[in-house]
């Protein structure tokens, strides 16, 4: 019988949940790295026992941990993230130049083909690659040294490269997103990059349709249609049908078009999930109700999914990497909250159950569907 493994990163450690294919009863292991912030952990698509975790604190900096046995044991690997050459400056909040400074790894993206190859998106925004299982890292500096790089500014959470999508049909095509620079695409394995932000409108920046400067919160794509991208921007939910060349808004009837997460059903490429969040300053769900919104039409028409979720007195957030879907026939959807709950739906969002309610604030949720 199939198994499902959830990889949950929190403010105070990592947790690993496992269940059989019914997804009714969960075994919870952890905390791993208790007391450390685990921004993200993710498994290799070609070796489910190979996991990578980003571990950091303000005290001790950044570590990368690797497991070769599905998370039972871990070992630290390389943590030297050195920008290529003299990194120069980007723009600070006040509009003045600010030196590029490495702070942490936000997102880890293992290769689709080789468990020893992995990409890491970091703050201050840059993309690093390891080809030796995380022992050493080198920057794909064509991104950071793009002609627009000196004009990139941080969002409120820092200037983070938080989204990495590799095209399953053409691994040389990579999509990334940076808060608050925008989305970029490489068609040559990360050597060169182009901004892909045409159609985005950010009314609070000097030029609302600028080539860069948009606060993209997250991007998702279905593996079968990697040229179709779905974006949750600071404001607006967007889609592109041409690999990011052009974007159109699909916020439709959402109660608010602000949010962080966005994901796609495992078997229905036009079925999307978002969690609308009240903003700009509150950053919790509207009306005290935790609701996932689903579109079965690729956007614009959204339905609230609330069965099993708190319908009053709920004021949590769901961060950008904290939603994932499994690949079982009846698609499972999972998300974690800033209140430490992890919710699961085994019926594509129709109903929800809390697997746990009292973890530290959840930063990321990934899922592995195990044979």
């Amino acid at each position: 019988m199939a198994q499902v493994r959830l990889l949950v990163g929190t403010r105070k450690g990592a947790f690993i949940f496992t269940s059989d294919g019914t997804r009714k009863n969960w075994q919870i292991a952890g905390p791993h790295f208790g007391g450390w912030e685990i921004y993200h952990l993710k498994g290799s698509p070609v070796d489910s026992n190979r996991l990578y975790a980003s571990q950091s604190t303000s005290w001790f900096g950044q570590l990368i941990q690797r497991s070769d046995d599905g998370g039972a044991t871990w070992n630290p690997v390389g943590n030297k993230f050195a920008y290529d050459g003299i990194p120069g400056t980007h723009m600070w909040y006040d509009g003045k130049p600010h030196p590029w400074e490495f702070k942490r790894v936000w997102h880890i993206e293992p290769s689709l083909a080789d468990p020893d190859e992995v990409l890491a998106g970091v703050e201050d925004a840059a993309l690093f690659q390891s080809k030796d299982g995380g022992q050493s890292w080198s920057e794909l500096s064509g991104l950071r040294t793009h002609t627009t790089g000196s004009a990139w500014q941080p969002g409120a959470g820092g200037m983070c490269l938080h989204t990495i999508i590799v095209d399953p049909g053409d691994p040389r095509r990579i999509f990334i997103a940076i808060s608050a620079a925008g989305a970029f695409r490489s068609d040559d394995g990360g050597a060169t990059w182009k901004p892909i932000n045409r159609g985005l409108y950010s009314k609070y920046i000097p030029n609302p349709t600028a080539e860069v400067g948009h606060c993209v919160h997250h991007i998702a794509a279905h593996p079968s249609r990697p040229g179709v991208l779905f974006m949750q921007k600071h404001w607006d939910v967007m889609r592109s049908d041409d690999a990011g060349e052009n974007w159109i808004e699909i916020s439709g009837n959402l109660p608010t078009d602000f949010g962080f997460v966005i994901d796609v059903h495992a078997h229905e490429p036009e079925t999307l999930y978002v969690v609308p969040i009240k903003s700009d300053s509150e950053h919790f769900v509207p009306d005290g109700k935790l609701r996932v919104f689903r579109s079965r039409t690729g956007g614009n028409e959204w339905e609230p999914l609330s069965k099993g979720l708190p319908d009053r007195d709920c004021y949590v957030n769901v961060l950008r990497d904290a939603m994932a879907v499994d690949k079982l026939d009846e698609c499972g959807v999972y998300f974690g909250t800033s209140g430490g709950q992890v919710y699961a739906s085994v019926d594509a969002g129709d109903s929800w159950t809390a697997i746990v309610r009292d973890l530290p604030p959840v930063l990321s949720v990934e899922v592995q569907t195990l044979a």
Binding site: W36, W59, G61, P76, N79, K80
Partner: protein, 107 residues
């Protein structure tokens, strides 16, 4: 404490998280350090013996102390001293440890 190789065995006290990371039991670890014994020399030897500590006490590129860590020995705060300054004789002789301490912060 001198060794046959001319180095000295220095006691180093680490924060709990770094002891867990490096799988050191107890509060201290003993490290052989070549003379003259300095903070930089102790950290070089410590990172050579425990590579997982690289980057956790000082930045790997700038080699500057991480901002939320402090260095103490013999009731002296050595955090702002030159990392190449010789450590007190009591540390060199193994009577006192070099203490690497995480700043108390939070709330």
């Amino acid at each position: 404490m001198s060794t046959l190789s001319g180095s000295v065995s220095v006691r180093v006290e680490l924060p709990a998280h770094l002891r867990t990371l490096s799988r050191i039991s107890g509060h201290e670890v003993r490290i052989d350090v070549a003379a003259p014994v300095t903070v930089a020399g102790v950290l070089d030897a410590l990172e050579a013996a425990y590579p997982m500590l690289r980057g956790t006490i000082r930045d790997q590129m700038t080699r500057e102390r991480r901002a939320f860590l402090r260095f103490f020995a013999c009731q002296q705060d050595l955090s702002l001293a030159s990392p190449d300054q010789p450590l007190p004789d009591a540390v060199v002789r193994g009577v006192e440890p070099l203490i690497i301490l995480g700043a108390v912060a939070g709330g």
